[in-house]
C-alpha cells in the first residue's frame, strides 16, 4: 500500500505543479498574487467540458483550445482589471483578484449553470497496471502534461526574447525599461501565460471529477501554499513543492486521516515562513534583505 500511495501522491503532485505554475509565474514577474487562479482553472475545465460535450473533442486535445481561450481571456482581464492596480500595494491586487474570482464564478454560473458537470472520455476511469500497482490515466496524463507545460515555460523563459524580457522585468523593471523592454506588454503576456497554464490545468481537473463554478475555492489555498513553499516566482520551486504536498497529503490521508490533509498545506506555509521565508528555491527580495 505504501508504494501505491507514493505513486498516487507523485501523480497528484504533478497535477498540482501544473495548476500552481501560472500562479507563481504571475507573481514572479508582476508581484501580483492572483487569487483568481482557481477560477481560471475551473473556467478552463468548463471550456474543456463544452468542447468535449458539444464538439466531441478529446479533453487532451482540448488542452490546446483551453490554453488559447484562457490566454485571450487572461489578456483581456489584465487590461480591464489588473493593469490599473499593477503598481498598487500587493494587498490591493489581492483584494482585486479575490473579487475577480467571485465575479468569474458568477459568470461561469451564468454561462454553464450551477449544476455539476463531468467530463468522461472512455479512458477516464481506467488505469495502467504495472504489476500489482496501478496508475490512473487521468492523473498520469495530468502528470505528463505538467512536465510538458513546465518544460515549455522553461524554454520560453530561457530561450526566447520574450522570456528574457520577462526575466528582465522580473529582475528590475527600471533596468529592463532602460534596455527597451516594454514592461506593460510583458506584464500582459505574463498574466495571459499564467491564465493559459490554468487553462491546461483546468482540462486535467475536468478529468478528475465533477465540478461546479464554486469548485474554484477548493484550489486556491493549496496552490498558494505550493508557491509559498516553492518560493514565490520560482517555477522549479513550485514543482518541488507540489510533489512534496502531493505525496504528503497522500501519506497523511492514508496513514493519519484525510481530515488532516488540508492542514498540511497550512502547516507547510507556517513552517516555511518561519524557517526559510523565501521558499525552497525562491530568492530574497531586496526588501527582505533590508529587513
Amino acid at each position: 500500500m505504501f508504494v501505491q500511495t507514493l505513486i498516487l501522491g507523485i501523480l497528484v503532485g504533478g497535477v498540482y505543479a501544473l495548476l500552481a505554475s501560472g500562479l507563481t509565474v504571475i507573481f514572479g514577474v508582476m508581484r501580483i498574487i492572483n487569487i483568481a487562479q482557481g477560477a481560471f482553472i475551473i473556467m478552463g475545465g468548463f471550456i474543456t467540458y463544452t468542447a468535449w460535450k458539444r464538439l466531441g473533442l478529446d479533453p487532451l486535445i482540448v488542452v490546446v483550445i483551453s490554453m488559447i481561450a484562457m490566454y485571450v481571456i487572461g489578456w483581456a482581464i489584465y487590461f480591464v482589471a489588473v493593469r490599473p492596480v499593477r503598481r498598487a500595494p500587493v494587498t490591493t491586487s489581492v483584494l482585486l483578484t479575490f473579487g475577480l474570482a467571485f465575479f468569474l464564478e458568477g459568470v461561469m454560473g451564468f454561462i454553464w449553470g450551477n449544476n455539476s458537470v463531468t467530463v468522461r472520455p472512455s479512458y477516464v476511469d481506467t488505469s495502467l497496471h504495472l504489476g500489482q500497482f496501478y496508475l490512473p490515466q487521468n492523473l498520469l496524463y495530468g502528470f505528463i502534461l505538467a512536465i510538458v507545460i513546465m518544460a515549455a515555460l522553461q524554454l520560453i523563459f530561457t530561450r526566447t526574447w520574450l522570456g528574457r524580457s520577462i526575466r528582465a522585468a522580473a529582475s528590475s523593471e527600471d533596468a529592463a525599461r532602460l534596455v527597451g523592454v516594454k514592461i506593460s506588454a510583458v506584464a500582459a503576456v505574463t498574466f495571459a501565460l499564467g491564465a493559459a497554464s490554468a487553462g491546461a490545468g483546468g482540462a486535467i481537473v475536468s478529468l478528475m471529477g465533477p465540478f461546479v463554478p464554486g469548485s474554484q475555492i477548493l484550489w486556491i489555498t493549496r496552490l498558494l501554499s505550493i508557491v509559498v513553499l516553492g518560493g514565490l516566482g520560482s517555477v522549479p520551486g513550485a514543482v518541488i513543492a507540489a510533489l512534496i504536498l502531493g505525496v504528503g497529503e497522500a501519506l497523511m490521508s492514508t496513514y493519519v486521516s484525510p481530515l488532516w490533509s488540508p492542514a498540511l498545506s497550512i502547516f507547510l506555509i507556517f513552517f516555511i515562513l518561519a524557517v526559510r521565508p523565501q521558499g525552497i528555491l525562491g530568492t530574497k527580495l531586496r526588501e527582505d534583505v533590508a529587513q
Partner: protein, 442 residues
C-alpha cells in the same frame, strides 16, 4: 488614446467570449433552468395564475390579492449547488401549483429566494434579511443539515416556523426548538436502517463478512453511516476500514487505495455528491469492486450521478430514498407532470426537488388548517397532525422529528427502483454492485 483602445478591445473581447461561450454551452437552443423558472420566481402578482394548459383558472381573483411572501435561502452556488438548485425547482413547482389552485389563504404565493453560496455565515445573514428586510410572512428551509443548523436557529429566535426539506442530523433536534420540521420521513441515524437490516438478515453464506465506512465530515452523512454500522456490527459484519474526510477533499484516490487494501465485502459511503462520484470512479480506476455498495445522497441526484460515474457503472448501487416518481401518493402524478412541463430539459426528477415540494405542501397544509399566519398555532398544529404529501404521510414528535421510515432504492438498468421495504417495492433487489453492465438507452 492607445490605452483606451486596448481597454475597449479587451472589454469587447470579454463580451464576445462570454456570448460565444454562453451560446456554445447552451447549444443555442436549449432553455436553461433559470429561463424556464423565471415566471415562477417572480410570483404571480402581475398576471393571473394559469393551469397547466395555460388557460385562466379560478385563481384570477387571487392574483389581485396582496402576495403572501415566503422566504428561503438555498445553496444555489458553491459546493452544495447541485441539491440547492434542485430544491429551487421543487419550490418553484410548488409555488406554481398552489397559485394555480388558488393560492394560500386566498393570496398568491410569492417566493423570495436568496443564494447562501453553501456558506453557514451567509445563510444566517440571508434569513435575518428575509425576516427583517424582506418581511416575509413565512419561511421555508434550505438544503443540507450543515446549513439547516444555523438557519433554523435564526427562525426559532424570530419565532417563525421552519419547514425544511432536509435537516436529518439529530443535532438539529437536540436544541429544544419547537418550530423546526423536516419534510422527509426520518432522521439520519435511521436513513439506512432498512438497508442495514436487509443485509444483516441475509443467510449467513450470502451475508457480507466485512465492511468499510468512508464518510464526509458532515452532520447528515456521518450519523447515517453510524446507524448502519451499529446494525452491521451487531450482525457480526467486521469493520475493516473507517475514515472521515473533510468537505472540499479533492484527492480520493488515496482513500480508495486504503479501502482496496482492506478489501471489504460491502462499502457504506456517507457521500454528498462530488465525493460520491469520486469514490466510485476511484474504485473503477483501482480495479476494486466490493460485492455491495451503498451511498447516501449522491445516487439520488439522478441523471447527474449517472452521467458522472457512467450509466453502465450504476447497476446495483443502493441508497436511501424519500421520493419515487412512481409512488401512488396523493398529488404525486400531478407534481411529476408539472415538473417536466416547467423544466422540459430535465432528464429525470431528483428527489431533492420532491423534498422541497413536500416542504411547501407541509407548510401549506398547516397554514390552511390554522387559517392564519400565527406561527405558534402553525407549529402546534404540525406537532399534532399528520400531513399527506407526495412522499407519503408525514408526522412529527414534540421535537419536530419525523416519525416515518425511508425507502431504499437501487439503480437498475440505468433507472432507479424502490427495492425496500418489500411492500412498496417497484422491483426486487438485485444482489451486489455490477459496474460495466450495459444500460438500455432511455
Amino acid at each position: 488614446m492607445k490605452r483606451k483602445s486596448i481597454l475597449l478591445l479587451s472589454l469587447a473581447l470579454i463580451a464576445v467570449l462570454a456570448v460565444a461561450l454562453f451560446a456554445v454551452a447552451c447549444g443555442g437552443t436549449e432553455a436553461t433552468t433559470t429561463t424556464a423558472a423565471a415566471p415562477a420566481t417572480t410570483g404571480t402578482t402581475a398576471a393571473p395564475a394559469t393551469d397547466t394548459t395555460g388557460a385562466p383558472t379560478t385563481a384570477t381573483t387571487v392574483a389581485n390579492a396582496a402576495p403572501l411572501k415566503i422566504g428561503t435561502s438555498l445553496p444555489l452556488t458553491g459546493g452544495k449547488s447541485v441539491p440547492g438548485s434542485a430544491a429551487k425547482q421543487g419550490y418553484e413547482v410548488w409555488q406554481d401549483m398552489i397559485n394555480t389552485a388558488g393560492g394560500l389563504l386566498g393570496r398568491p404565493v410569492e417566493l423570495v429566494i436568496k443564494d447562501d453560496a453553501s456558506d453557514q455565515n451567509t445563510i444566517v445573514a440571508d434569513y435575518n434579511a428575509l425576516i427583517a428586510q424582506d418581511k416575509v410572512d413565512l419561511l421555508l428551509g434550505t438544503f443540507s443539515s450543515l446549513l439547516v443548523l444555523p438557519s433554523s436557529a435564526v427562525a426559532e429566535k424570530n419565532n417563525m416556523v421552519y419547514v425544511t426539506p432536509t435537516g436529518a442530523s439529530p443535532k438539529i433536534y437536540e436544541r429544544g426548538f419547537t418550530k423546526t420540521f423536516m419534510s422527509q420521513q426520518a432522521l439520519a441515524p435511521d436513513a439506512g436502517k432498512v438497508f442495514a437490516n436487509y443485509i444483516a438478515n441475509l443467510p449467513a453464506d450470502q451475508r457480507p463478512k466485512t465492511a468499510a465506512y468512508p464518510t464526509m465530515d458532515d452532520p447528515f452523512t456521518a450519523p447515517v453511516i453510524e446507524g448502519i454500522k451499529a446494525i452491521f456490527t451487531a450482525a457480526g459484519i467486521k469493520n475493516v476500514y473507517e475514515v472521515t474526510y473533510p468537505e472540499g477533499t479533492t484527492d480520493f484516490d488515496s482513500i480508495v487505495n486504503a479501502i482496496k487494501s482492506a478489501n471489504p465485502d460491502v462499502v457504506v459511503h456517507g457521500a454528498i455528491f462530488e465525493d460520491g462520484v469520486a469514490i466510485v470512479r476511484g474504485m473503477l480506476k483501482a480495479g476494486f469492486k466490493p460485492a455491495w455498495l451503498f451511498q447516501t445522497t449522491a445516487p439520488s441526484t439522478g441523471d447527474q450521478y449517472a452521467q458522472a460515474i457512467g450509466p453502465e457503472n450504476t447497476e446495483g448501487i443502493l441508497y436511501h430514498m424519500s421520493h419515487s416518481q412512481k409512488a401512488n401518493t396523493p398529488g404525486n402524478a400531478e407534481f411529476v407532470k408539472r415538473y417536466y412541463e416547467m423544466f422540459p430539459e430535465a432528464k429525470d426528477l431528483p428527489e431533492d426537488v420532491a423534498d422541497a415540494y413536500a416542504a411547501g405542501q407541509v407548510l401549506a397544509a398547516a397554514v390552511t388548517a390554522v387559517g392564519s399566519l400565527d406561527q405558534d398555532a402553525i407549529a402546534n398544529w404540525l406537532h399534532a397532525n399528520p400531513v399527506e404529501t407526495i412522499l407519503g404521510p408525514l408526522s412529527w414528535d414534540a421535537k419536530g422529528i419525523p416519525q416515518g421510515e425511508f425507502m431504499i432504492a437501487q439503480w437498475q438498468k440505468g433507472l432507479t427502483e424502490i427495492v425496500l421495504p418489500e411492500n412498496v417495492a417497484t422491483a426486487p433487489i438485485i444482489a451486489g454492485w455490477k459496474p460495466g453492465t450495459p444500460v438500455p438507452p432511455k
